[in-house]
């Protein structure tokens, strides 16, 4: 056999030489584990918006500057997610038998917020037409425990999302509304809503 091959090969007389020792496989596995850990914490999980120094999309969202209407909107989105989305959906489309849609609803989009602002405060039972469909369900006063500014934020968010383009609601409006309707019963269906002065 040639010199070249003799020195290259280790198959002569079973001289395969020592196998790669276990420790390097263990090291590789540990390395892969550490790598996965690092990637999990720092990569933003392939989100196209997350750039260094931000490490996750949550962190990026937290550092979005909010002022005035934008801050209200962001807070409203958070509150909506916690309280309203379970029935009305994150997309505002509602669910048959559960809650009517808010997206495109003529009640939400009305120029005046005077009717829609009383719904989360007092609750609503009885039949209502929403976007040409009849809804006959019962909603508890889900917003009664929210602060003035939080309820204003939720209503601002609802009135400005999913294609809705209605005006925001301020906390002073909510304060005035709460003073005016203190002790009232839940609104009775469409007739009850129409009875509210715009």
């Amino acid at each position: 056999m040639s010199d070249d091959l003799k020195t290259s090969l280790q198959t002569d007389a079973g001289q395969k030489g020592p196998t790669a020792p276990t420790w390097i496989f263990v090291l590789t596995l540990l390395g892969l584990f550490g790598a996965g850990f690092y990637f999990d914490r720092h990569s933003g999980w392939f989100d196209s918006q997350v750039y260094a120094p931000y490490q996750s999309s949550d962190e990026l969202e937290a550092y979005q500057p909010k002022s005035g209407a934008a801050a209200l909107f962001a807070e409203g989105k958070k509150q909506y997610g916690m309280i309203c989305a379970a029935c009305h959906g994150d997309d505002g489309l509602g669910k048959p038998g559960q809650a009517p849609p808010l997206a495109g609803s003529e009640w939400v989009n009305a120029a005046s917020f005077k009717r829609v602002e009383e719904i989360p405060q007092l609750g609503l039972t009885g039949s209502v037409h929403v976007s040409g469909q009849d809804w006959n369900l019962s909603m508890a006063p889900m917003g009664v425990a929210l602060s003035d500014s939080d309820l204003a934020a939720v209503l601002t968010y609802i009135r400005g999302s999913w294609g809705n383009k209605a005006s925001p609601v301020s906390d002073t409006d909510i304060k005035a509304m709460r003073a005016a309707v203190a002790g009232h019963a839940p609104i009775g269906g469409e007739s009850g809503l129409n009875a509210i002065k715009e």
Binding site: F46, S48, Y51, A52, P53, L60, Y63, Q64, P65
Partner: protein, 250 residues
């Protein structure tokens, strides 16, 4: 191994995986990107560079400016400042509270806690987002560079080494006459500059050629000073751009 095929298969898998990750992935994610909105505004970003600036990018490429200059700003972190917008019904209490609190250079959680305390005392606050980093402190940018900043460029000239200063926001720093003078003789407006002169870009004396004018138009179009979703900052509170045509290049 007895066959070359196994080597090729292994190489194919190894290179194929990295091709998927670093070629296919970015082409699908970044190569299909479009314009985006400026934060808290309906303004679209970025606008296409004006025509002569696009020609100027080709001059930049042809002269190899990227061999010495980068056009990418980095950011090391982000901090918050809490700013009082209204003292509310009880100004003395709020002012007393504020004088005992740290209001600048806070993390987001700290800023939320501080603004919560001030709200509870009746005041109203705004949290300002401030990018921090070596490049930003040096007035080379207001925020880190993002993919949108290079959307219209072909070829993208990010640069790899800073023999000369970063140019990502050159349009905020100087004007046409400064740039032309710098190209003609860099040492005329930057003391100790190590940049070679580009007198070949000028015709008889210091009349700029078309190439020089286009290059300057490109340099002046370089600005990344709007707040975006992926590079947020509070515009009003951003660090001021370096004074125009500062005597010594910072």
């Amino acid at each position: 191994m007895k066959t070359g095929f196994r080597v090729f298969l292994g190489a194919f898998i190894a290179l194929g995986l990295s091709w998927c990750g670093f070629v296919l992935g970015p082409v699908l994610q970044l190569g299909t990107q479009g314009q985006t909105n400026v934060l808290n505004s309906s303004e679209i970003y970025p606008n296409q560079r004006p025509g002569n600036a696009t020609l100027g990018l080709q001059v930049y490429r042809a002269y190899g400016c990227a061999a010495c200059h980068t056009t990418q700003v980095g950011q090391d972190g982000v901090l918050c400042d809490v700013v009082l917008t209204s003292a509310g019904a009880n100004p003395t209490a709020v002012n007393n509270l504020i004088s005992s609190l740290k209001l600048t250079g806070l993390s987001k959680d700290e800023a939320d806690a501080v603004s919560g305390r001030i709200s509870a005392a009746g005041g109203k606050t705004e949290t300002h987002i401030i990018p921090v980093g070596a490049d930003i402190s040096r007035h080379w940018g207001l925020r880190h560079s993002v993919a949108e900043d290079f959307l219209w460029d072909n070829p993208v000239q990010l640069g790899t080494i800073r023999v000369g200063p970063d140019l990502a926001n050159e349009g905020l720093r100087h004007d046409e006459s400064w740039e032309l003078a710098h190209l003609y003789n860099p040492r005329s407006n930057v003391q100790n500059s190590i940049m070679p002169s580009y007198k070949s870009l000028f015709i008889t004396g210091n009349t700029p050629s078309e190439d020089a004018k286009n290059l300057v138009a490109y340099l002046l179009s370089l600005r990344a000073d709007v707040s975006l979703h992926d590079a947020p900052f509070t515009t009003a509170a951003a660090p001021a751009a370096a004074p125009q045509n500062a005597a010594s290049q910072k």
